[in-house]
Subunit: 405 residues, 2 copies
Amino acid sequence: MSERVYLMCISCGREFERDTLIYTCSSCGDLLDVVVEPKSLFRRDTLQGRVDSMWRYKELLPSFDKGLVTLGEGYTRLVECKKLAKWIGVRSLYLKLDGLNPTGSFKDRGMSVGTSTALRLRMKRVICASTGNTSASLSAYSARAGLECIVIIPREKVAVGKLFQARLFNSKVFQMVGGFDDAMTVVLKCAQALDAYILNSINPWRLEGQKTTAYEIWEQLGRTDIAVAVPVGNCGNISAIWKGFKELGIHGVIKDLPIMIGAQAEGAAPLVEYWEKGLETIRPWKNPETIATAIRIGNPVNWKKAVRALRESKGLITAVSDDDVVKALRAMSSLEGLAGEPSSAVAIAASKKLVDEGRIDPDTTLVSVVTGNPLKDTSDYLISWNEPVKITDANEIIGYFSRQK
Amino acid sequence: MSERVYLMCISCGREFERDTLIYTCSSCGDLLDVVVEPKSLFRRDTLQGRVDSMWRYKELLPSFDKGLVTLGEGYTRLVECKKLAKWIGVRSLYLKLDGLNPTGSFKDRGMSVGTSTALRLRMKRVICASTGNTSASLSAYSARAGLECIVIIPREKVAVGKLFQARLFNSKVFQMVGGFDDAMTVVLKCAQALDAYILNSINPWRLEGQKTTAYEIWEQLGRTDIAVAVPVGNCGNISAIWKGFKELGIHGVIKDLPIMIGAQAEGAAPLVEYWEKGLETIRPWKNPETIATAIRIGNPVNWKKAVRALRESKGLITAVSDDDVVKALRAMSSLEGLAGEPSSAVAIAASKKLVDEGRIDPDTTLVSVVTGNPLKDTSDYLISWNEPVKITDANEIIGYFSRQK
């Protein structure tokens, strides 16, 4: 067997050679899938002793014999959480801690493949529009790869902290008037003029990295008759994780496929609207608003792939309020000592809501993906329920606890 | 063989039963070591298939058959960095990414053992004085264990962000007038009155967790004829890592022992002063000042253990300026896409300084411990060398790069 890797349009099925510099189908304009036909059988017993990163699943990933850009991403911890399972109302719960990736989010999986692809295409520059996890991750992987990285950010509503990682990892950062959509327009113009490779969500290679979350859940949990909850913004991650599970099925590694659970914030829920109202196409939301900033997206690029994941997996999707996000974050952190950026708590809150509504069976084994590190967002409103107590000496503390009895 | 675990005074050698509620020697007042006599042989080939956390080295750790408190800490990535090796001036360099622990610092290793010990001692409460990584870690592990956690913080010079994790993980936080030493005095008073177990640096069990960094470097790198650079504040981590290597030697697992390299900031360098001036005892610094806040400590609790590590390993110690810390952080992040909180960059800066001075052989294989996640400190002065460029349209960006040619 020899490996074959190519691109295929999700709509018209047209195929493109692996090394085509292309982001969408040149025939019909729709999204592209990467297809990897493995060069050898993929089996569980071959995994022992392999690298402790997502590259342990090398048969199922595009190969980069020379020029693999890696920081040890993926193969993150899967931790059982009995108390939080009870809070949600399911039989068992596991948190997939993707906030412990090198730059603190699941994006690192995709950027490892994305920047490796940039090198393979002999690009010297990469570019993205982003104010958050994407630019942090691309900046770090570009530094590692020796690629010049350009980050375009909207000047409005950008927290200084969100820029920290892009600046730290030496990207060239441009701040422009306008919002994210304006920044994206600038990216498209600059990419061609500057010979820069675009690594925004439209890039299909990133999802090849992100699909490894599915392989890890399978390897670490040892079963796939489960539900997998994922926060949904630009719709890439839920699509990628479903792709990973489907591939395990295609290669005969697993029989049971999981139910995918999509979780959106009420203030940024175009996919929920599409799904519940049975629309023909997604209706972009102009001013999405939620504290879960990583999924504050009104016009998700990969929505068609997410719809495919929900349909094929007989999945569920729902939206939760910001209040419920704070409650879910509080439950995670207080009960288990584990937390995530607010969007990660959206998946917990949505799972609880679906159990309460009778749409998730309480007998379910649930895996919830913690997509980003809690240190990504240290806003005070997330912890306002726990105000420090001002004291002047030890007796006040002792008094405090004697009153609690 | 049956496991034997006990405490031993580093000064008078008096031994204490494992379950004695004690922090220092009741005879002479000096520090205590934990001694683990393994119940079975420890060999490399028994490690395959074990848990992906520091608990894979179970023979060498105190056992907690029931009531092990774990979030999957340790067994963090060791990543080779060729470009940064060249910058420092050594043959090869590996970064040990301990910022990817559950709460973002190496403290999680110690708190896993520390809170497990609290449960074993049937304590219901734990307490610490801290404004940083210690309180973040203790808070998370207490939540996981169901222990009530009390955190005492000085009201002065405390960044809100530093409190975020303690509040998020549901600790009871008390803010008091004064500095760290005052807060520590309050901890000592409250601990007894409130039956709370102290998990500050004086607690010898924490170092049992932290020693596993040595086991991992051995397992992951496959050799120990190396130098290991560690930031030095309260002196616990360098002592613990040395203890781990020494134990591997005692159990016949390794022959070569590493050279330990201690790294302090010039504004908080009492151990360097002690070492270089050949003092009889350490001289506490009243107002330590450095941007490397995790090691801004003037009166290190575990200094005697660190001195032992430096003497026994024929080690080196030096201090670097805050300017050099920023330069080292910039080198790490720009060259490799990896970073740490400022104290982690202190170890890089110190290694470079020692190579430049001819005190480290350029042929050395160096492992530098990245003790904390870069998201722990997102201060603007760390990235002031990379200011965003304000633009209004794409042409300005294109113009910018054409001028660069």
